[in-house]
Symmetry: C2
Subunit: 380 residues, 2 copies
């Protein structure tokens, strides 16, 4: 554990909601649990709370450490902490694991109370709007009527936007990072490949792998590899690996042993992920991504959608992000302007592709710091 | 069959080579067969022959039809035929299936003469330079001492470049389309994902699926899906599919049945491919792509490599091709210029991504026609 500018040791908490949640699909979750962490202190006016919405493979552990001997902090530790852009000296930060997740919130690995068996593949397909509803319940639970800001990158940015039109009075600022109002066909296609990789693993057993005491780890690993390659830019991979060899050599006579660094790296990343993530959750989260369409209740008119919003917006994109390209962020910005909303837009030069939103890129951190400083003053 | 401007019915031929082929890996193929087609007539001087080199999933059937009742012509029929850019009224065109292929040339589905069993995964890893050596044997067989031109797209372009430095006196023109002097880390990564998809299919049986009377069809389908998505541009997919649904609807209550057009299209493409292509060949071809490094015998100096060449070059790229981007083609062009070679470069505006090299894009066909007209005059 590196305690400099860290929120230090954090303990996940659980909130149990006994009242049924009616989902967009028409199904109902009779009850559910959300696991979450908080950093910083809620002020007396309860006006300084920030909600962090996670992306595809994220979870509630966004900052700090769970144990003294941990070496890796939460997934957004570069942004959350004392003196950092999401400054825990000024804000009370809430980070949760979404419904359908596999890190402690109710999801496919939970027990279905009506059957007393694992939900598995029968867990209802939750959508972005359902996550926002469940997050509103968490806000109620914490006594927070209005968030100072809701912040998310990628799929998290979709949740932030959905907050702005679903509960316009419950957030003052909305920070949408490396996101889009809906996925492109190419993005859906990559998600479909990831799902097919999982579905075609013989250990998937139509989603009932836990009952078969097994895991579709090769399918999950492949799915992760697809994600990993597409979330990095070509340039980032070039500077990270180039054509460097891990073993073998290019005297041409030993091609059977030739292995590029990038190959072993990918296999390692895939295999790590496959032991720590749930396949049904991965399928569910990618579908939530595919199905999201900000304007779907407004006849496809995103300007009309954003006319519901009252928050002020910051939209951020990264130059080499080709899965959620700057063009997609400019579409958000344009729709917000046309809807008469207050919006700032920053396109950050970064070579890391979509993954840049998780990286400590100085100009990115500066933009967030400057913007959130204003938020802190207004919401103190 | 549509006979307008078509080479019509063609019959594949076989050339058997009894003399051993010494491979770059140090291994030796004791004998081998190449299947090929020819279109047009070889002139008396044998000076009007063009060699077509195929890409990853290509084969010898580049133009015309095998039967009267076929509806789909060869894979490059848009470019090859009477009056077309590769004009069969003027040129004698040779198109082969490469060694290691699965369409009739010696490869993993052939019998290993030393064991009398299928080669399968034991077929030696051939490299681009081996293909060029075997193609030179085919030229000898046909009595062609010098090609008017060697032409290839993608992996085919690598063969064309390799020809220019391996047999500088045996080609007058070299046409390199949508190619690169070596693959980027990102490209290797996508190939590795495709291979892992095949290797992790339980029906792969370490490459001995034929002996097990099975086929790793799901792995192959996935591999093809990865290729397919990455060979198309985001724009091409957007205009082809957008977010159109194949079934289901977005009233939110029937998400289980929602299926995007792009998903069913991908699954269809993958499944078609998996029944028509050999998994060991796919692995072998992707490795040949990964291993290719034009400058590897010249201490990484591509200018030195191209100093061996005597041909004149045409280099072509496509604006939205992100797997073999225009930047990679400009690198080829720059190296050729620095090596003092004659080179023309055309970057074609096209929305189809890497697949554009197979498409009848008017400016692309015009560029090829104009260039090859000059070649035809010189090599008549």
């Amino acid at each position: 554990m590196n305690s400099a500018n860290s929120v230090g040791i954090v303990t996940p908490q659980h909130a149990v909601f006994e009242e049924p949640l009616h989902l967009a699909s028409g199904e109902t979750l009779p009850s559910f649990t959300l696991v979450y962490e908080t950093y910083g202190r809620l002020n007396q006016a309860k006006s300084n709370a920030i909600l962090i919405c996670h992306a595809l493979s994220g979870h509630h552990h966004a900052a700090g450490y769970h144990h003294e001997d941990e070496t890796k902090p939460g997934w957004w530790d570069s942004c959350i902490g004392p003196g950092k852009p999401i400054d825990t000296n000024r804000f009370f930060v809430v980070s949760l694991n979404n419904l359908g997740g596999c890190h402690g919130s109710t999801g496919p690995r939970s027990i279905n109370p009506s059957t007393s068996k694992l939900w598995g593949p029968d867990f209802p397909q939750v959508q972005v709007s359902d996550w926002v509803s469940s997050q509103a319940r968490l806000a109620d639970h914490l006594g927070i009527s209005t968030w100072a800001a809701v912040i998310g990158g990628s799929l998290g940015g979709m949740q932030a936007m959905q907050w702005s039109i679903q509960y316009p009075d419950r957030l003052k600022y909305c920070l949408v990072i490396a996101s889009a109002m809906d996925l492109s066909a190419q993005n859906i296609a990559f998600n479909e490949i990831a799902r097919q990789a999982i579905l075609s693993d013989t250990h998937f057993h139509e989603g009932r792998y836990l009952e078969h005491d097994t895991n579709p780890s090769q399918g999950l690993a492949l799915a992760r590899m697809v994600g990993h390659v597409t979330y990095l830019s070509d340039d980032a991979m070039a500077s990270k690996f180039g054509r460097d060899l891990r073993r073998g050599s290019f005297d041409k006579s030993v091609t059977e042993q030739v292995e590029f660094q990038v190959e072993s790296y990918l296999r390692y990343q895939g295999s790590q992920f496959s032991t720590s993530f749930d396949a049904n959750t991965y399928i569910l989260m990618t579908k939530a991504l595919d199905y999201f369409d900000l304007a779907c209740d407004f006849e496809g008119d995103s300007v009309e959608a954003f006319k519901q919003a009252k928050a002020k917006f910051l939209v951020v994109s990264f130059s080499t992000d080709w899965r959620f390209s700057p063009r997609r962020s400019r579409e958000i910005t344009d729709a917000l302007i046309a809807a008469g909303r207050s919006v700032s837009y920053a396109e950050i030069e970064a070579k890391e592709g979509h993954d840049a939103f998780l990286m400590p890129i100085p100009r990115y951190l500066d933009v967030l710091s400057a913007y959130l400083s204003r938020v802190a003053e207004e919401c103190a």
